[in-house]
């Protein structure tokens, strides 16, 4: 009750304006929460797997997104329900942490909630369910570790990496050329990877898209592509062996930070000021020229006069280059970002073998390619595609593939895909449940059932008989003691995922199970929902 009594026995209300709030408590609250969690999972369920369908999302401004990526769908879905928002967070955190498996994690959480509902109806206390889930998730986690395989790759043998990236890409619309895209992703990651430290800075990989052409034209450029053109239309379009001055100061008269005023009260002052001004431009351009730069890349704009002087002295320049791109250019060319003209020295210049401007299509779209850089640690993946939505979706898919490749470099353990890992975990959890005394046993068993949901959804989306297929695969796994049996989504004819080359990363799978369990535990612990009603 939200009603309490003060020391004089007068009633007062703790929660203000009771009638204006809706409130759900106890079992009702839990059930409502579970129902909304399940509803979210249901939306994503059909997107799972290589034969999963896409969703079309229309934003408040009418823009259309077509995607199959769980995190993107949920992010753009405009949900209002609190629990649904939790699920959105869940897939987002999977996206940040792993980058792939964002759909799977939500489906998994939905399945766990569904099992929890059944257990609740049997009268098991939510906390006991939560604890049982926790135990079960630990079992599954360790089991995954056991069935995982280390797999070897090196800078020369990238085949295993490509195979894993292909598994990720096969569920996206780009699966038409998954092979080439997977190769691009792996090469890009290897180009920037620090194999000794086992880390990859994905910021060094720039994904740039341009509408037009076809998906097959997508290419990996060992260098940077900037969506800008030369500041003066008559500057050379191609520079070989460029020495690049990377500037963050504008070609304009300096603007001191301190507030000041220059008063002009005599004609002499007016004239000196004017000369001063012209000298500025001259000095700036001269300084760039003096250090031997053959290309200027600047974060800010140019004054018309400076622009012409640059042109006149045959010093091509690019203006209004974004901060991130500037950094990438600096990394790629081995140059330093110079904030003041005075600090320009020949050592601080970046070097690139070839800088060229390339035009696309019939409109005035031009881009600048900076290639053959001194330090090819920064790369660009340049995506072409039939329309804007296609490019956006390809960008997301490439991002997923990049994340997978990075995870493999960090930790080269893999498990087999196609639902085989889930089935194997489910068997292990089921077996462990019987040994566990107490009410939690039921929850653990529930967890095992929930694990079956992912292969089930895979089978369903591929047009197979879900229950029949799942039970056949499960018995096969137990009979042959082979944890690589999964759902044959592509109708290849074999259940063995090792032969089909369907891999997923171990950390991705482990993270999925842990995150899903955590969210479900959190949802189960809620027994009171108070929300302000609409005005």
């Amino acid at each position: 009750m939200a009603l309490a009594f003060d020391e004089f026995g007068r009633p007062f209300i703790i929660l203000k304006e009771q009638e204006q709030k809706t409130r759900l408590r106890g079992l009702d609250a839990q059930k409502a929460n579970i129902a909304s969690g399940k509803a979210v999972a249901r939306i994503l369920r059909t997107s799972l797997g290589p034969k999963g369908m896409d969703k079309m999302l229309q934003s408040p401004d009418g823009d259309v997104t077509i995607t199959n990526d769980g995190a993107t769908i949920l992010e753009q879905m405009d949900v209002d329900n609190q629990i649904a928002k939790l699920m959105v967070e869940l897939s987002r955190s999977q996206d940040y942490e792993i980058g792939d498996g964002t759909t799977g994690v939500v489906v998994m959480a939905g399945a766990l909630l569904e099992q929890a509902e059944k257990l609740l109806e049997r009268g098991i206390h939510p906390i006991r369910i939560a604890e049982g889930y926790e135990v079960a998730s630990r079992i599954a986690f360790e089991h995954l570790e056991r069935i995982s395989h280390k797999f070897e790759f090196s800078a020369t043998n990238i085949e295993p990496l490509v195979q894993t990236c292909m598994t990720t890409l096969s569920s996206k619309i780009v699966n038409r050329c998954k092979r080439s895209l997977a190769e691009i992703a792996v090469k890009a990651v290897l180009a920037v990877a620090d194999l000794e430290r086992k880390d990859v800075n994905l910021d060094l990989i720039k994904v740039e898209g341009k509408v037009g052409g076809k998906l097959e034209d997508t290419e990996l450029i060992f260098g940077i592509v900037v969506d800008k053109d030369m500041s003066h239309p008559q500057m050379p379009k191609q520079i070989e062996d460029a020495k690049i001055a990377i500037l963050t100061c504008p070609f304009e008269p300096p603007k001191p930070k301190t507030k000041h005023k220059v008063d002009i009260d005599t004609v002499e002052k007016f004239q000196t000021l004017r000369q001063q001004e012209q000298k500025y431009f001259d000095d700036m351009v001269q300084k760039c020229k003096d250090v031997g730069a053959t290309l200027v890349i600047c974060q800010w704009g140019f004054d018309d006069e400076a622009n012409h002087l640059l042109m006149n002295r045959n010093l091509p320049a690019v203006r209004w280059v974004g901060g991130v791109e500037l950094e990438l250019i600096a990394i790629a060319t081995g140059g330093r970002i110079v904030p003041r003209f005075q600090e320009l020295t020949p050592e601080k210049l970046g070097r690139a073998g070839l800088v060229r401007e390339k035009a696309f299509g019939t409109t005035k779209d031009r881009m600048i390619y900076i290639e053959h850089c001194a330090n090819s640690r920064a790369v660009t993946i340049f995506i072409r595609g039939g329309n804007k939505m296609m490019i956006e979706e390809t960008k997301r898919s490439i991002h997923d593939a990049l994340c997978v490749a990075r995870n493999l470099i960090r930790n080269n353990s893999i498990v087999y895909g196609g639902g085989s890992a889930e089935i194997s975990c489910s068997i292990a959890v089921e077996a462990a449940a019987d040994k566990y005394p107490g009410v939690e046993q039921y929850a653990i068993r529930g967890f095992a059932d929930a694990l079956d949901a992912i292969p089930m959804a895979l089978a369903e989306n591929s047009g197979l008989q879900p229950i029949e297929t799942l039970s056949a695969v499960k018995s096969q796994q137990i009979k042959e003691n082979n944890s690589c049996c999964g759902i044959d989504c592509n109708d290849v004819g074999t259940n063995d995922m090792r032969e089909q080359n369907v891999f997923e990363t171990l950390i991705g799978k482990q993270q999925q199970i842990l995150l899903a369990t955590q969210v479900v535990k959190m949802i189960l612990k809620i027994d009171d929902v108070i929300s302000p009603s609409d005005y």
Partner: protein, 527 residues
Amino acid sequence: MAVDKLFKDEATEEKGERARMASFIGAMAIADLVKTTLGPKGMDKILQSTGRGHSVTVTNDGATILKSLHIDNPAAKVLVDISKVQDDEVGDGTTSVVVLAGELLREAEKLVNAKIHPMTIISGYRMAAECSRNALLEKVVDNKLDAEKFKADLMKIAMTTLSSKILSQDKEHFAKLAVDAVMRLKGSTNLEAIQIIKKPGGSLKESFLDEGFILDKKIGVGQPKRIENAKILVANTAMDTDKVKIYGARVRVDSMAKVAEIEVAEKEKMREKVQKIINHGINCFVNRQLIYNFPEELFADAGVLAIEHADFDGIERLALVTGGEIASTFDNPESVKLGHCKLIEEIMIGEDRLIHFSGVELGQACTIVLRGASPHMLDEAERSLHDALCVLSQTVNDSRVLLGGGWPEMVMAKAVDELARKTPGKRSHAIEAFSRALVAIPTTIADNAGLDSAELVAQLRAEHHKEGSTAGIDVISGCVGDMAELGISEAFKVKQAVLLSATEAAEMILRVDEIITCAPRRREDRM
């Protein structure tokens, strides 16, 4: 327990069959909308804008029609998007791409109703698209090496493109204009260099290509109207009161006399600047920015023609034509490259006076002057010409050419049909459907021309059964004709782009099984 509310107010969700139906219907509606504009006998549409003045556009260009539509259906937006991309990328075929995508979806709907999984349809479509592309690749003709033939090819392509537009009456004239203009570009695809000036009045036939350059500006008062052997300085500089660019500078004086002094200094500064410009030894000065009347007067005194406020593109083009550089500082006259031309004069087109630069050094840019009865007519003529120019400039780079008039579609359909017969499994239905969708394009062309499409297409199919047939629909005489003889050609690049983007779009829409629409953002009522 039912979930009371998952989404925000007004956000809607459509699932499974309903979602698929919504997207099929939306896409097909768009395709049907532009379908009647296809082909040489296609009809135009009138578009009335909702903005002030309710301005009216009459057009036949698919991309223009679709761009102006307000569409709510997300699937329809995908089609609008592909037609826009087609416009940006190759410039023509904007209607065909939408019609083909619409037909693909129409066929897909039948297959879905026959309980074939969308993914199966997609994989069939992909195989078919690949197969048709290869079929086209086998048949292309490349005349790049033979300049004469290549030019003839370009002429044919231009005529074919223009024949479906308002310019079809004078298509030969305009095709020649377009080919000449594109040949001047020497392989560059930068259409910016071709300027199109529209002047109402006269008839379409009076349109002409000018080898020089025409600037839609007036010559300043008191300045020479005709200059021979002009030396031109193209500039982008402020010719009003030249501001002090140092930050924080301001004028603060304590007496009127000082103000006058500074004013004099300012004038002096301007005079110096003008003097510097004149010292370049020029007799024509074109500035992108305003020229105030004080410097203008100075120029007039020196006998220099000063043209102000030429827009940026104009400046760039002028620089291209005359070979000068765009200057902003004037301290080193010897290092600035000046532009040259034989003659600058004021000419009259209709009632307007324009500045004409002739006998230019570099012939990279040129001007096409369009004449026509009304602004609507001119707008449409410009769009048509733009299409033709785009196609031609793309063809110059990729010189592979195909025949037109439904010929490529029939070639593809034949190859796809054969593939369907060879493919085992459910996919063959999808492949067959693809070929039906391809045939829909010649069918539509015939329908629009008021011909008996069923009869014609059947004849065409029979013709194509022979090896190396060149048969297509001859809309003018209303029967099956030899496209090679009639000289109807299309660029391979356009056809390929139509095929690939239509398939891609159809695939995208097919993959969708759920549509989630967010609540539309509310606009504040400013009233």
